[in-house]
Amino acid sequence: MMQQAPALTIAILLLTAFWVPIFGMVKRESAYYISLTAMFFSFLAACATLYAVVTTGPIHYRMGGWPPPWGIEFVIDYLNAGVLVLISLISLLTTVSAKKSVEREIHRSKWPLFWSLYLLLVMSLMGMTETGDMFNMYVYLEVSSLTAYGLIAMGEKGALMASFNYVILGSVGASFYLLGVGYLYIATGSLNMADLSKILPSIYRSKVIFTAFAFFIVGIGLKMGLFPLHMWLPDAYTHAPSAISTLIAPTMTKVSAYVFFRIILTVFNPHFSWEVIPAATLLRWIAAVGIIYGSIMAIAQKDIKRMLAYSSISQIGYIVLGIALANRMGLIGGALHIFSHAFAKGSLFMVVMAVIYKTGIRNIDDFKGLNRKMPFTMAAFCLAAFSMVGVPPTAGFFSKWYLVLGTVAGKYWWLTAVILASSLLNAVYFFRIIEKIYFSSFVDLVTGGSGGHEHHELPAVAVAEAPLMMLVPILLMAAGILAVGLFNTQIIHHLLQFIVPKGLA
């Protein structure tokens, strides 16, 4: 069983995805429970995979027993084992918390199809994480896009257009990726990542390789919402059903970011990505502009989902910046930020889902005094917001810390300034909400506001917390933020340090 764990992570979801609509025809409610069970077992398989990797080293799983480079293989090393568990954990928690929200936002007749697509989306994300084959990656990439198109389109007014724009841009991105694969295949005759990384160094000066690299950057950049290829992202996040925003915000862009790492560090080696072509310089600029742009746009938003979407664009900038710093600390910071941002953004979107479910509030101005109604949810929101701002000891602080160390070690002072400035901008848009949540109950009640001592008793607001099925995942995610922060050394020691190429300071 243990040897099959890498394949099981995907197989369970894939097979269940086909059964869900069938069972759903008999009884609509069953779709959810079947999906949840599948997600749970897939999560167990992911954990088993991680355990195997940590104890015995990277796993090469050959599909159907065909040896690479002809067969497709799953290669699970330290980085993607971590990402795999991260993705399956977060999607499992999202599944738990999404039940009520989906029941409200999606028409009953569509539940089985919804959950089927949902499983396929998670499956494809896990496949992207595990695969060691470039073309296989393309297939998973397209499956994740296709399912995401469908799921996003199930959202509210505006979702159709958001989804359509995503179709157009997503196809361009995937096609570029496919072209990149094609060029690599012309030059090397191989599609296997490990094989490619062995063949490529001899032909690094070839223009074909340059072109392929550029196609990959653009293709994956589109998928991960890297500035300036992010145009689809804010609309998609805003208009998608809450459950889907919650699923794709922490997972889809993070998996794409992982693929970014994989292509730059494994398929092409760092020597090529950083020295042969000046990709690092370009990416540094893109990341820096993206970080600032995302933060400023987030400040300008009134809709909380849209605000979080722009904040994601800025955070993706951090991850790319980590890669582009091209030094040890930067890489570790970027990789750790995949984890810390996944937890932080995941819990923020879960909180938003709970708030929308409970109160229907979307506009930031309406968050006033929400802490009286939903104290635990709002506490989790604060914690996640602190992580986004980078307050120690949350996860966000530590990834930021490594990134700052990376910029200092590389003497990119202006990038240090960018990171620090963006922390402050993050603080602006998060504390603006925290202030509303906690400290504005009187502003409306008492006009004039001076003195502030005439009013002692507030009108009692009944606590109306989110249902337990939402609250528990939210709190678990919040705990995850702290755990990633406090145990970041363990994560780095067991998983992330191996991504740093040998001999890199």
């Binding site: 120690p392 810390w401 700052v404 620090l420 502003v443 008793e457």
Partner: protein, 497 residues
């Protein structure tokens, strides 16, 4: 070398109020007594833990505790030394007094959201202990930011427009300072490879260019100086006075601002060290810079009519004494500077308590309304008078001793200019405190009132602190051995041991 003792006490000192905070948070808003009981239990246990460490420290040992690795090569590390324990003693001791006062104040005004208030208060104290006992810069930063965040709900406590604005201002200043500090710490780590506080500094001998060191020092001092209210980064402090008075008293006179000052001294003495600071030609610049603050904020204090605001500016000026003493880098000035941390704390907290007692009793906030208040509230105003004498530096109050050593220090450093700064400031202190005292006792009140003191929970704390201020003036080693601790700390910094 100092003997190192490994003990979990510093961790417990931090945790006790953290745990207490959550007990408070989960207590029903209605159950005042239980909530206050939690506060007191936490405060007493914390103080007990801190004071139990004192004998060990006085024996010249250092308590050290290395916990989880926060980042590769960097641990969450506590280290209790002479300097740290002074701050720990002051903050934890005054927390007890302030808790008593808070209860009187909050009940007296029937304040709202008391759970949040006591919760944040306990968190602040936890963070303050962490700052006092942190053994390296990363641990320091962790608690420093925690303090920033935990203070925010206290500043905005009133939830009216003014409070929210003050809260924003507070966050803008302190978070900006925080990121500067983060940059400086990160750069220090990259260049020096360690962040552990060492008496006499650890940055020397790491082959860092002078320009870089200067930039680092500036970043550090702005990072910590914002909390310490060094001009021109002080503007948040007078605004933050909208907070309830116990907050102003403990946090904006003792814990938060002292954390900033504590940080500045740590940076000057334990990161850079006297030798390096002289090598990079920065000590005089820093000294001039804070001298400017000392004088100008005294002038601001003269101009403000709101009592708490005046006290805030006075705090700004007095805090800069401490930084000045550290920047002068002589043994006496360091002794004076470190000693001024507890001494100023006891005096300033008394003054704030008085301001709060007056407000609770009469609702008066402005000095111009306080004519003859001494007849109505004799105890309160007597304490106020004594404390203000201390601020000016009149013996036998404790303010005299620290100022004396600061003055000696200027002579030791052969910088007469700063002696004049200190003396001028003393005159200015007198100029803004004595009129209050005069008006309180010798002017006729607008309407005649009999003696009507504030309630016991308000008067008792301020009496305790003022008595302590007097005792520390006469017996500087009374109970806590502040003087010995300060002198030992100064010696260890100068000798680098």
């Amino acid at each position: 070398m100092n003997t190192i003792v490994i003990s979990y006490k510093p961790l417990y000192a931090v945790l006790v109020s953290l745990v207490g905070a959550f007990f408070i948070l989960f207590t029903s808003e209605k159950r005042q007594n239980l909530r206050e009981a939690w506060t007191f239990i936490a405060a007493f246990i914390k103080f007990g833990i801190v004071i139990s460490m004192l004998p060990v420290i006085l024996h010249g040992k250092i308590i050290k505790l290395t916990l989880v690795e926060l980042a590769p090569g960097l641990s969450l590390m506590f280290k209790v030394d002479f300097f740290g324990i002074i701050f720990g003693l002051v903050a934890s001791g005054l927390w007890i007094v302030t808790s008593l006062y808070s209860i009187g104040y909050m009940r007296g005004l029937k304040e709202h959201a008391q759970n949040r208030y006591f919760f944040a208060f306990a968190l602040c104290l936890s963070a303050t202990m962490g700052i006092a006992f942190s053994g390296n810069l990363l641990t320091f930063y962790l608690f420093y930011e925690m303090l920033t965040i935990a203070t925010y709900p206290l500043v905005t406590h009133n939830e009216d427009e003014e409070a929210v604005k003050a809260g924003r201002k507070y966050l803008t200043y302190t978070l900006t300072a925080g990121v500067l500090l983060l940059f400086a710490i990160g750069a220090t780590y990259i260049y020096a490879g360690t962040l552990e506080f060492t008496p006499g500094g650890f940055l020397k001998g790491h082959n860092i260019s002078i320009g870089m060191l200067q930039i680092l020092l500036v970043a550090y001092l702005i990072g910590c100086g914002v909390k310490a209210g060094v001009m021109p980064f002080h503007a948040w402090l007078p605004s933050a006075m909208v907070a309830p008075t116990p907050v102003s008293a403990l946090l904006h006179a003792v814990a938060v601002v002292k954390a900033g000052v504590f940080g500045c001294v740590r940076i000057i003495a334990y990161v850079f060290g006297p030798v390096l600071l002289k090598d990079i030609h920065m000590w005089l610049i820093v000294a001039y810079f804070v001298s400017f603050t000392i004088i100008v904020s005294s002038l601001f204090a003269l101009a403000s009519d709101n009592l708490k605001r005046r006290l805030a500016f006075s705090t700004i000026s007095q805090l800069s004494y401490i930084i000045l003493g550290a920047a002068l880098l002589s043994k006496s000035s360091l002794t004076g500077s470190i000693l001024h941390i507890p001494n100023h704390a006891y005096m300033k907290i008394t003054l704030f308590f008085c301001a709060g007692a007056i407000f609770v009793k009469t609702g008066k906030k402005n000095i111009s309304e306080m004519d003859g208040i001494g007849r109505q509230m004799p105890f309160t105003m007597l304490a106020f008078t004594l404390a203000s004498f201390g601020m000016v530096g009149i013996p036998p109050l404790c303010g005299f001793i620290s100022k004396w050593y600061l003055c000696l220090g200027t002579l030791q450093a052969h910088e007469i200019f700063f002696l004049f700064v200190l003396l001028t400031s003393a005159v200015l202190n007198a100029a803004y405190f004595f009129p209050i005292v005069y008006a309180a006792f010798f002017r006729k009140p607008a309407e005649a009132t009999g003696v009507a003191e504030a309630s016991i929970p308000l008067v008792l704390p301020l009496s305790i602190t003022v008595v302590m201020a007097v005792i520390f003036g006469i017996f500087p080693n009374f109970l806590f051995h502040f003087f010995d601790l300060a002198r030992n700390a100064a010696t260890s910094i100068i000798t680098g041991m």
